[in-house]
């Protein structure tokens, strides 16, 4: 069965090309042009993923995510314009799964789509990130069988990124997860830890391939 994608955008032309592109890429799609319609479609059609434009005429895209997250874990990819940087980050903090900046090439959107549609975040004790094997129970990280020495915080950070490879995690999400909700504003602190972590796990820390930066937004573990 082909996955069903709900496209929410008020621009008819965007709906038009996305419909064709998703059909060609192996997805079914349905559309909505307002926030209210989007929520109604979620209830009626039970889509597998929502592509949500942040600039809707009736409601703020963020409000749609907030309402949606009260009842559903439906993966959401937000489409944002360059001047909606803040709204994009807020949408991610509110529970959107990823974002694509407009204008975009279709390949970019399809890659995010595949990551988000993949089964729920990896559970269990052994996580993988590129050549790294992360043993959550033993608090051990090995690369090609060689153990790496990480501090507990570095380990937690790496585990968070490895749990959902390819998905963006905002600064706030990472800070809250590793250091607790009181530290969500300490972005410079996070940056220092990411630097230390890269020095230990990356082949070339100045050109990282495992921990990728989303400027102004957060970090992304390398897609598997």
């Amino acid at each position: 069965m082909r996955p069903l994608i709900l496209i929410v955008d008020d621009e008819a032309q965007i709906l038009r090309f996305l419909g064709h592109a998703l059909a060609a890429a192996g997805y079914d799609s349905c559309t909505a042009t307002t926030g209210a319609e989007a929520l109604a479609q979620v209830a009626a059609r039970k889509p597998d993923l929502m592509i949500l434009d942040l600039g809707l005429p009736d409601t703020d895209g963020k409000a749609v995510i907030e309402t949606l997250r009260q009842t559903s874990a439906l993966p959401v990819i937000v489409l944002s314009a360059r001047d909606q940087e803040m709204e994009k980050i807020m949408a991610l903090d509110l529970g959107a799964d990823d974002f694509v900046a407009k204008p975009f090439a279709i390949g970019e959107l399809l890659a995010r789509l595949r990551v988000c549609l993949r089964a729920a975040p990896a559970q269990g004790n052994r996580l993988r990130l590129g050549p790294l094997v992360i043993d959550a129970a033993a608090h051990e990280v090995t690369r090609d069988g060689v153990a790496l020495h990480l501090t507990p915080k570095e380990f937690d950070l790496l585990a968070a990124l490895a749990e959902s490879p390819g998905r963006v995690l905002t600064h706030r999400q990472l800070l809250s997860r590793v250091w607790g909700p009181a530290h969500v504003e300490d972005v410079p602190y996070l940056r220092v830890f990411i630097g230390q972590l890269r020095a230990k796990v990356e082949e070339n820390p100045s050109a990282p391939t495992l921990i990728l930066t989303e400027p102004g937004v957060g970090y992304r573990g390398a897609p598997g």
């Binding site: 032309q13 060609a24 390949g107």
Partner: protein
């Protein structure tokens, strides 16, 4: 106003100058001599009355002199009357000797009474004079304050101040610093200009020296950092009072000029903020109107290249790319047009028929928008002087607006009458929101906040550029003047 920050802001109104009143002038003395002579004449001419009545005649002369000319004149008249009485009527006659002790007492008491009466009457006179001068100064200042309150420009405020200074100071000049050089609005001597420059440099009044001393003939008072008012030297007994009134006048003028300065600064600041706001409105509109078609073009093109698609889907994506490129093109055209209109290039009119233009615009709209329906209702029109290409753009934008923001059916009508030709575009919708109707009537060319697209802004700009108007009256109406 805070008294701590400007202790000198309110100079006192002219009051009675303390100390003795000014000395009598020649006219007063001559007049009192005349009055005494008149009294003596009357005493001589009348039938010989009782002797005690004679001093009373002289007393009247002293009172009249004092009331008319003031304190000193009254006192001089008293002494003169005493002398005349002694000379004419006291034995031995026609000498200043006094033979009888009794006459001596009469004369001394007369002198006392006359002196006191003269003193009182004189002071009364001086008080009345002072009150009159005060009233005049107050009237001048009151008039000035009203004029300054109404003044909208620096020039008007200055003219008002000059006019009232003319009344108070018996003449008025203004000296302005232009590039550091004092420039007067009347012919002044170098000494006068130098005094004005000193007043401006020190920002302090520069009074004219007393008569006979070298220096300027004018007193100067600064009223702004680069502007001083001057008046001829004040002579005579009213001088000190007038000087005080003039100080008050200068202060009022200074405050008024300051107020105008602040108002001007506030106006410029407001203008700058408005320009800034409209610029950001254009940027927002730009980013939306260019980015949306761009997103479709990039997305569709990449999908065509990367994905394996059904032939119908490919055809539809190619059509979408074409349409969106056309939309971008229209937007860029409007943007350039708006820039051109804002630069206010001069109009290059030719004879055109608005009906031809309407038909051309409708044809273009049918090509640009698939399935566009515009009903035409054209009345015979006189030809007008205008730029056809610009008008076609304006009409096309109105059609574009009606097709995309209004509702079918869209109907275009032209009419002639009342010295103008009009083109009205109606649709089945509710018309533009209130903000856009208000914007249409306003002076702004840049789009109103929340207005998507530049089409209406360009149509409005073109209407204005062609000496016409774009209004809303249940439909967008473009009216253009008939050729004279």
């Amino acid at each position: 106003m805070d008294p701590d920050t400007s202790p000198s802001s309110a100079p006192p109104l002219p009051r009675d100058v303390p100390g003795l009143p000014p000395l009598p002038d020649g006219i007063g003395l001559l007049a009192s001599a005349g009055l005494i002579a008149l009294a003596a004449g009357l005493v001589q001419a009348l039938p010989p009355g009782p002797e005690p009545a004679r001093p009373l005649f002289f007393l009247v002369a002293v009172l009249v002199a004092a009331v008319t000319f003031g304190f000193w004149t009254g006192l001089s008249a008293a002494i003169g009357a005493f002398a005349a009485l002694n000379f004419l009527y006291t034995a031995p006659l026609y000498t200043f000797h006094i033979a009888r002790a009794q006459d001596f007492y009469v004369l001394v008491i007369f002198l006392l009474v006359a002196g006191l009466a003269g003193l009182l009457a004189g002071r009364l006179h001086d008080r009345a004079e002072a009150a009159r001068a005060r009233a005049e100064a107050l009237e001048v200042l009151g008039a000035l304050s009203a004029e300054l309150g109404l003044a909208e420009t620096r020039g008007a405020a200055l003219a008002a101040a000059r006019g009232q200074l003319q009344r108070l100071g018996g003449g008025a000049v203004s000296v302005a610093l232009q590039d550091g050089v004092p420039v007067a609005d009347a012919a002044l001597l170098d000494t006068d200009l130098a005094a004005a420059e000193r007043a401006l440099r020190n920002q302090r009044p520069e009074p004219a020296p007393a008569p006979g001393w070298p220096g300027a003939r004018f007193s100067f008072l600064p009223v702004a950092p680069d502007l001083a008012l001057g008046h001829p030297r004040l002579d005579g007994r009213e001088g000190p009072r007038r000087a005080l009134a003039i100080t008050a006048l200068a202060e009022q003028t200074r405050l008024a000029l300051q107020r105008l300065d602040y108002a001007e600064k506030a106006r410029q600041e407001r203008l700058r903020a408005e320009t800034e706001a409209t610029r950001s409105a254009v940027l927002t509109s730009l980013s939306h109107d260019l980015r949306t078609p761009l997103a479709t073009i990039l997305g569709a093109a990449s999908a065509l290249r990367e994905l394996d698609m059904a032939p119908e889907a490919r055809a539809d994506l190619l059509a979408a790319i074409e349409e969106e490129a056309g939309r971008m093109n229209r937007h860029v055209t409007n943007l350039l047009q708006l820039t051109r209109l804002e630069l206010a290039t001069p109009m290059r009119p030719a004879w055109v028929d608005l009906n031809d233009i309407a038909e051309a615009a409708v044809a273009r709209a049918r090509r640009a928008f698939k399935g566009a329906e515009v009903a035409l209702d054209l009345a015979p029109l006189p030809m007008i002087r205008a730029e056809g290409a610009l008008l076609e753009q304006a009409v096309f934008n109105l059609i574009d607006n009606a097709l995309h923001h209004g509702r079918a059916p869209v109907r275009l009508a032209t009419r002639a009458g009342q010295g103008a030709v009009t083109l009205t575009l109606r649709d089945g919708g509710d018309g533009p929101p209130q903000a856009i109707r208000a914007w249409l009537d306003g002076p702004d060319l840049r789009p109103a906040p929340g207005q998507r697209g530049l089409g209406l802004a360009v149509a409005k700009g073109i209407a204005r550029h062609q000496s016409g108007r774009l209004t809303w009256d249940g439909g967008f109406t473009l009216s253009l003047p008939e050729a004279p």
